[in-house]
Amino acid sequence: MQVHRFEKVWLGAAILLIVGFIATIAYGSVGVGVGMVDDSGGQISAQAVQNGNTGTPFDDPGVVREGEDQYTVYVVARQFQFVPGSGDTPIRVPAGANVTFKVTSADVTHGFSVVETNINTMVIPGQVSEVSARFNEPGTYGLVCHEYCGAAHHTMGGSVEVVPPEEYDMQQQEIEQPEDDAQAQEEADQ
């Protein structure tokens, strides 16, 4: 088989490009440590998530402090909101801390994407997505369901509020409680 000289050069350059791409990605994973979404979150029954009887923190989702600078955020995605995350219950985490998001679905497939960050995962019924991140800059980050999940999919958004560590107060983290419960609690306290 004859291959023209120019074509041989082109072929060599193409292979070099491909090997280069694979090398940069391998370096990104091993060297820089860009973690992949994988099977580390384990499985869960979507119907138990829907009924709130999984026996896991997903029954009462929210931020859990695991240790110094270590937080886990349990989020349930359901048609058409993130709990917590949507409306006036933003996910609040301190800047600079190691935050692990554990997200699962109570019904259909959703997406969980924090805008302009690497936090981007599918949320599939029966599976728990696990993503670790650290927010260095305080501020409000957009949260989007980026997989079509039904007729009101476009309303399914939310936010992540990253606050300076000194202002972060776990007492304010009662976000997972429904509002009227929180009010009842306040009244009881008074």
């Binding site: 491909i18 497939t109 599939i124």
Partner: protein
């Protein structure tokens, strides 16, 4: 001799397949412009935001599944008959057509049901607002899944007709090399048979019984994995026909001939080997799949760039050769001496140019870690409107200007509209796609009726959000105009009377380096199919085994209406 006179039966079949394809293109394009205006907020009077998803499903199914499959069936039918110089076995080929058409009607009726109040038909609401990926546990009417399955089954039967034609030809021409066009068709079909197994199992074993209530639960991760087993090779099912056109017809339109027959065969064999074991690159961000499998898919995906990069070389070299045959000279000035006023030529060239841009954005999608920035943002449809939406669709339209006269015997009408049409499409797509890519970088999601949220606002990374919206709306409108121009030319041509002599014919000039230089092993389909299957077993065996190890239907989800 005009093709229609040499092969009247085959021509009639090609005409029927093209007619369905063009009808799907028209409706799909109308749905497209409705979406472009709706999601950008320019005009939301056509449908409610809830019904937007019905329109979106229709757009995806009609264009990515129906238009493509029917057009490819027509093109392949012509290519096999033309290169083997014989009529196709018409009984098999026509049954394929009717099976696919039945499937199309079932799927289309189920989708349309969603905008006419979802009447209850046979105990299920008639709707299919599940988009063209139909991820479970969102449930559509069973007729939608049955229709999708029939379109696939019909395409299998169509492939049988091509293989039957080859076997008949072989018995009359023992020892001869498979002609290049037929080789390309059959290699594509082998890839298609291997890859559609995934979606066939998904639909027939899981979705149909589950939508009928025969089984209660299905595993959403398993079914979407089966979908993506098929979901990337389908991209090559769209592209390889475009490559067939670029390799075998485009050089002739440029005034020359193909550079190398052996390398064309190598490229198609590479697609057969590598198209399928890459599906996990659509699932980089899926939970439940160990990263090792994603890494294997990423490596395969990157090597899949090779046949496309080789194609870029061969096609450009062949076109340059054509220009020099026409007397052109200089390093780049030969580009001026090409028939840019012939829409068949200009359409293919512009499609190829946009495919190069789409290839580069695809490399970013394939980059396992950088993909996190753009996964499921509007970047992704920005990418595939360059590939299937231009590399395939514009090539299909362009080559119709050349092919439809030959399967009808009628001269092309409305030539000035035809001449302008590829450029309208190109400008429309350039506006829409660049803005979609940039909007994706800003994190704006795909597949949404209203990309604005109560909790926060998007900020443009390169350009403003308002400017991107405007470009998407104008671009989408121009694309609709481009599709309408094409359909006007086709309608006027098909309805015209036959008369005069055609200026085009189906003779394909011999390549500069002919099949005699191709190693015979390239035509050994058994060998390549075996290697392709082996690569699939390596890429998919362990992950699928672990997904079904806990039971075929677990972790299970019941059907959920949308």
């Amino acid at each position: 001799m005009v093709f229609v006179d040499s092969y009247p039966k085959t021509s009639k079949l090609v005409r029927s397949e093209f007619l369905v394809a063009f009808a799907a293109l028209g409706i799909g394009a109308l749905f497209g412009v409705i979406q472009a205006l709706h999601r950008t907020g320019v005009f939301r009077g056509f449908v409610s935001s809830a019904d937007y998803y019905t329109i979106l499903t229709g757009h995806g199914v009609l264009l990515a599944l129906v238009f493509t499959t029917f057009f490819i069936a027509g093109l392949f039918t012509w290519a096999v008959a033309n290169s083997l110089e014989r009529e196709l076995p018409h009984r098999i080929a026509w049954s394929a057509f009717w099976i696919m058409l039945t499937g199309t009607v079932l799927a289309a009726v189920s989708i349309i049901g969603g905008i006419v109040g979802s009447p209850s038909i046979l105990g299920h609401d008639l709707e299919a607002d599940v988009l063209f990926t139909f991820y479970a546990p969102m449930k559509a009417h069973p007729a939608f899944y049955i229709g999708a399955a029939l379109i696939i089954v019909g395409s299998w039967v169509a492939g049988l007709a091509y293989f039957k034609a080859l076997w008949d030809w072989r018995s009359e021409n023992p020892g001869e090399r498979i002609p290049l066009q037929t080789f390309m068709v059959l290699t594509t079909m082998l890839m298609w048979y291997i890859s559609t197994i995934g979606v066939a199992v998904e639909v027939v074993v899981f979705l149909i019984p589950w939508s009928l209530g025969l089984i209660q639960n299905i595993d959403p991760l398993l079914t979407r994995t089966l979908f993506w087993y098929f979901g990337h090779p389908v991209v090559y099912f769209w592209l390889m026909p475009a490559y067939l056109v670029w390799y075998t017809i485009l050089p002739k339109l440029a005034g020359g001939r193909l550079f190398s027959d052996p390398l064309a065969r190598v490229v198609f064999v590479a697609f057969l080997l590598l198209s399928t074991p890459v599906g996990f690159h659509h699932q980089y961000t899926d939970p439940g799949i160990p990263s090792g499998y994603k890494f294997i898919a990423m490596t395969n995906t990157m090597f899949l760039l090779l046949p496309s990069l080789l194609t870029a070389f061969t096609v450009v070299a062949s076109v340059e050769h054509g220009a020099r045959q026409r007397g052109a000279s200089g390093y780049l000035s030969w580009l001026r001496d090409l028939p840019w006023d012939k829409p068949a030529f200009s359409g293919c060239m512009l499609a190829g140019l946009m495919f190069a841009a789409g290839g580069f954005s695809g490399m970013i999608n394939a980059g396992m870690n950088i993909n996190y920035l753009i996964h499921n943002t509007i970047w992704v449809p920005g990418h595939f409107h360059l590939t299937v939406g231009t590399a395939f669709a514009l090539t299909a339209m362009a080559i119709s200007y050349w092919l439809v006269p030959q399967i009808t015997g009628k001269k092309l009408r409305q030539r000035s509209i035809a001449t302008l049409q590829p450029y309208v499409w190109f400008v429309g797509m350039a506006l829409m796609s660049n803005a979609m890519h940039r909007a994706g970088l800003a994190g704006i999601p795909r597949r949404t009726a209203e990309p604005t949220y109560d909790e926060f606002a998007f900020e443009g990374v390169a350009g403003t959000v308002g400017e991107m919206r405007l470009q998407i709306a104008i671009g989408g409108f121009l694309l609709f105009v481009g599709a309408a121009m094409f359909l006007i030319v086709m309608a006027d041509t098909l309805l015209a009377r036959r008369g005069g002599t055609l200026s085009v014919n189906s003779n394909i000039p011999e390549p500069l380096s002919g099949p005699d230089h191709s190693p015979r092993i390239l035509d050994n389909y058994k060998l390549w199919t075996a290697i392709a299957l082996l690569l699939i077993v390596i890429a998919y065996g362990p992950p699928l085994a672990s997904m079904v190890a806990d039971g075929l239907f677990a972790p299970g989800s019941p059907p959920i209406p949308v």
